[in-house]
């Protein structure tokens, strides 16, 4: 059993306050949360029932023109120039007049893009020195998982973490979030984002969201465009699919009549639309994700799934996962909405505060070095049994 009340809150309060700073990709998020001190946390395994109160959840996304991805230098510039304003906004919204009352400052230690991560950690270190508040470095993936657990109340689900930079199937075992299955090359969000660039659709609010909307408009749902299906055991590969569908899209735009899949060989009539391609891509990729999730569930005897990460906002993915879970002895799928699915500061605060409450925090600033590569299973999950 675990004691989450080991370190009492500042100023003899009966609640903890934490601020979380997230900036590993193109979203800059600042979140402020409150955990009440509860007796049940003294000796139990209830880190998913913190009764969290979200006092502020501010996020600003760096968006690039259609057809372009976000580069480290400009992303870092965005974070650097907005972080102070966003922190101020969060403090105002949380009605915190005296920031020195905060118990812990949590920041994303990794994984992610180097320069943006670096900008945010500098802000975190500065606040820590200014206000004399301890720091906790958080693994971005663990942040997603802990936020998902708290919001949905899912006790011990198999976690599907799908975003622009990550695609992992995770299950908790003996103090670690173990990776059961993952992508062998690119992440699914990356695959969708890059296809969006090929299609030159807008990047706001997010390229994945726009592909989802196009897919919904597909009028030809019975006739699927057949794509390679590349599940390899518990893992999956997506670069081949991306290459193939990029070629299809380019042939479509160039009006390459030789492509019999896209154009009727006799009449030259267009047989496939952009909406059809988006629909087929989603159906194919999501079927693969659901399959590897199901494999992990069978292996650990679970019938609960929690979907976290930006791609988790996709309604079609949630539908497919729910159908699979239902067919597995009435299991359930848990998902959060875009406030928490998409990168945010609150999730960093949640995971960071849990770690702080078990007595772990930065003792020397040299421990706050950020890292682009940081595996989910490298983190010691002290707050779970």
């Amino acid at each position: 059993m675990v004691n989450l009340n080991g370190i009492p809150p500042r100023g003899k309060r009966n609640y903890y306050l934490a601020i979380g700073l997230e900036g590993s990709a193109n979203k800059l998020g600042v979140g402020i949360i409150k955990h009440p001190v509860l007796e049940k946390h003294e000796d139990s395994d209830l880190s998913y029932e913190c009764d969290v109160e979200i006092l502020a959840n501010i996020r600003d996304t760096y968006v690039t023109p259609p057809g372009e991805g976000f580069l480290p230098r400009d992303t870092a510039r965005h974070h650097r120039n907005w972080v102070v304003r966003i922190i101020r906004k969060a403090l105002t919204e949380a009605k915190i007049d005296d920031p020195t009352k905060i118990d812990v400052i949590c920041f994303t230690r990794g994984p992610g893009m180097g320069a943006p991560l670096h900008c945010v950690v500098i802000a975190a270190r500065t606040l820590s020195l200014m206000w004399d508040i301890p720091l906790v470095g958080v693994n971005h993936c663990v942040g997603h998982i802990e936020m998902g657990r708290e919001i949905t109340g899912a006790k011990n689900p198999v976690v599907l973490y799908v975003s622009g930079g990550n695609t992992q199937v995770i299950a908790y075992s003996e103090k670690r979030y173990r990776i059961f299955g993952e992508t062998l090359d690119i992440a699914i969000g990356n695959c969708l984002d890059r296809f969006a660039r090929t299609l030159k659709i807008p990047n706001a609010p997010s390229p994945g969201y726009n592909i989802e909307q196009l897919a919904k408009q597909c009028k030809n749902k019975e006739k699927l465009v057949v794509l390679p299906y590349t599940v390899k055991g518990m893992d999956l590969s997506m670069s081949g699919i991306l290459q193939y569908i990029d070629t299809l899209a380019k042939d479509l735009f160039k009006k390459n009549l030789k492509n019999k899949l896209l154009f009727d060989s006799r009449t030259g009539e267009q047989l496939v639309t952009v909406e059809d391609l988006c629909y087929s891509l989603q159906e194919n990729l999501f079927a693969m994700l659901v399959e590897i999730t199901e494999r992990a569930m069978a292996h650990v005897n679970s019938n609960q799934v929690l979907i976290v990460g930006g791609v988790g906002c996709n309604v079609r993915l949630q539908e497919m996962m729910a159908q699979m879970c239902k067919d597995r002895s009435n299991g359930q799928v848990h998902a959060t909405d875009d406030r928490f699915c998409i990168d945010n500061g609150v999730m960093i605060a949640q995971a960071g505060l849990l770690e702080y409450r078990t007595g772990h925090f930065v003792k020397d600033l040299s421990e706050t070095i950020v890292t682009q590569k940081f595996r989910t299973d490298e983190v010691y999950i002290a707050w779970r049994e």
Binding site: E182, D343, Q372
Partner: protein, 263 residues
């Protein structure tokens, strides 16, 4: 197990064959039947045998086109592999009795038994959980080495399993020992590539680490010991192949660690 899925077998199989569902894996439902699917009674009477029906039901979550294609591809693929693997001397795989690829049905001989004290079916996963109180006993060690030998034999003959987890290794009693049988070749393939074999080893290693974390190091070493012995028995050429394989296996391991993760 989902009652609806189990009931759906009635759509594709005559009700002359009594079926008892025993498990629902990720992909297929497994039934047992005392009745052979086609041999006349006088050939099987008094055998006291059970037969396995592995049924890949329709997966409603995916598009029907994807579903039908996958089911047929996997059922046929698995059947073909089982038939070929059965011919390899020393390799333990279930015997293929029949196949209906259009409806996702495969008939196999029955393997394994129920472990004592309610530990469930005798696959490697349950066996290791059952032995968790004495994890490094000779029995466990010998069993893991034998598992390594089976995988080595399979790889030496250029076949890959594709989904090597501890649930896909069934233990059959052979006197005092347990003989491992590899099952579930739905994602298997014929391959000479060290990449595919390396990934096979990596998947098993990860599966052992994920569900038997405390003892995983030793277990994985024993598996590799058995695995190596198969290659060693083929002299210098074998040892050379083994070294190449292990080198790629280590690269695959690192690849997981080094994968760039952004966002």
């Amino acid at each position: 197990m989902s009652a609806e899925i189990i009931a759906s077998i009635a759509d594709v199989l005559t009700d002359n064959i009594p079926l008892t569902p025993i498990s629902q894996g990720a992909e297929a439902v497994v039934f047992t039947s005392p009745v052979h699917p086609y041999l006349p009674k006088n050939r099987t009477d008094g055998d006291d045998k059970l037969y396995i029906l592995k049924y890949r039901p329709e997966k409603k979550y995916r598009h029907p086109v994807i579903d039908k294609t996958l089911t047929k591809h996997r059922t046929l693929g698995e059947s073909r592999l089982l038939a070929k693997l059965r011919l390899i001397d020393g390799l333990n795989v279930p015997k293929l009795i029949g196949c209906d690829p259009y409806h996702g049905c495969i008939w196999l001989e029955f393997l394994g038994e129920d472990l004592p004290n309610g530990h469930g079916f005798s696959n490697l996963k349950n066996f290791l959980w059952m032995n968790a109180s004495d994890p490094y006993s000779d029995l466990v060690r010998d069993t893991m080495i034998n598992v390594g030998k089976q995988i080595g034999l399979m790889h030496w003959n250029d076949y890959c399993h594709g989904d090597l987890t501890t649930s896909n290794i069934v233990l059959v009693r052979a006197g005092e020992d347990w003989q491992p049988y590899l099952i579930d070749f739905g994602l298997g393939s014929i391959s000479t590539l060290v990449e595919d074999k390396g990934v096979d080893l990596y998947v098993l290693e990860r599966a052992i680490i994920s569900t038997h974390s405390s003892f995983a190091n030793r277990y994985n070493l024993w598996v590799l010991e058995g695995f190596k012995s198969v290659f060693e028995s083929h002299g210098k050429a074998g040892l050379g192949k083994y070294k190449d394989l292990i080198r790629r296996f280590e690269e695959v391991r690192l690849r997981g660690r080094k994968r760039s993760m952004i966002g």
